[in-house]
């Protein structure tokens, strides 16, 4: 049972602690939490878009490499988990770019 709930429980407790700290110490209004959650969802959505884009580009690169070199290039190259982290970074970059463009 502990294996099932340990990770979500840790994240829940640390989130509640951080929220309480920020609300007291910096007086951040709780009503903006929903907006912040929306932004997080936008970032996750953008990460999914970049994951798909990276998969398509990866497949194209693999097909091209196979055709040009005449050697076998495995699709498993594209199954590297690093691509998910890079997709998240790409999503953050584009989200912040969009935010900055909106403000200026």
């Amino acid at each position: 049972m502990i294996e099932q709930v340990f990770v979500p429980l840790v994240a829940l407790v640390s989130t509640v602690l951080a929220l309480a700290f920020a609300a007291r110490r910096y007086r951040w209004p709780p009503r903006f939490l929903a907006t912040a959650a929306g932004r997080v969802l936008e970032c996750v959505g953008a990460t999914v878009v970049f994951c798909v884009l990276n998969a398509v580009v990866g497949a194209a690169v693999i097909f091209t490499a196979r055709a040009v070199s005449g050697r076998f290039v495995s699709f498993y190259l594209g199954a590297d988990h690093t691509l998910v982290a890079l997709s998240a970074l790409q999503a953050l970059l584009f989200q912040w770019w969009r935010e900055s463009s909106r403000r200026s």
Partner: protein, 210 residues
């Protein structure tokens, strides 16, 4: 729907999917549906499919487990031929030869071992094994591969003309608990689903070309 709203909807759906895969038994249930049951019975050859090896020539855990299962089946007298597959890497190390050397260490006679190189995909392996075993009149094989991979490998070997007796490894734990293990299982399942979809698309294109 505006761009940001669409991204929020997509993000929400993605988070729900990740939560379902990490914190519920959904991947376990999907895994149980995919894993083929072992039905070992005597055949004419044991065929051990390729896996990975390091650049230095060390067999991966999966490659080693498959090889050991093949050796065990041979030692139990399940077939007179033991076929090891696995390509040669860019540094010149052959996976099939490394596995054959291992089998020799475990007492399998050299005369019973066959190796196949230059086959990079499961489809290539099915075709290559057909060519390798055709002269020996082998039609019934014990197929050794990963539990999740068996569902994709078996039809390819059957299409190549073999009667296939599955002898999958018990390497996919459908009983995984904990978010990290469940996500690992989800990724393995997703890779299998994608590979099957790719095979189907490739078959369709070939049929249209033909």
């Amino acid at each position: 729907m505006s761009g940001p709203a669409a991204l929020r909807a997509l993000g929400g759906a993605a988070l729900c999917a990740v939560a379902a895969c990490a914190f519920t038994p959904l991947p376990n249930a999907l895994c149980r549906r995919q894993v083929a049951a072992a039905e070992p019975r005597p055949a004419q050859a044991i065929v051990v499919l390729g896996s990975d090896m390091t650049r230095e020539g060390m067999l991966s855990a999966s490659s080693l487990r498959r090889a050991m299962q093949g050796i065990e089946l041979y030692r139990h007298g399940m077939a007179p031929w033991l076929v090891f597959l696995g390509p040669r890497n860019t540094a010149g190390h052959s996976q099939s030869e490394a596995r054959a050397a291992l089998a020799l260490e475990y007492g399998v006679p050299a005369s019973a071992i066959l190796t196949g190189e230059g086959m990079w995909t499961t489809r290539d392996e099915a075709r290559g094994v057909k060519a390798l075993l055709a002269a020996k009149g082998v039609s019934r094989i014990l197929l050794v591969t990963g539990a999740l991979h068996m569902g994709r490998a078996r039809p390819l070997f059957e299409r190549a003309g073999f009667e296939v007796i599955p002898a999958p490894l018990r390497d996919a734990s459908c009983e995984s608990v904990g978010p990290e293990m469940r996500l690992g299982l989800t990724i393995a399942l997703a890779q299998e689903y994608l590979a099957r979809a790719y095979n189907r698309a490739a078959d369709l294109l070939r049929r249209q070309d033909g």
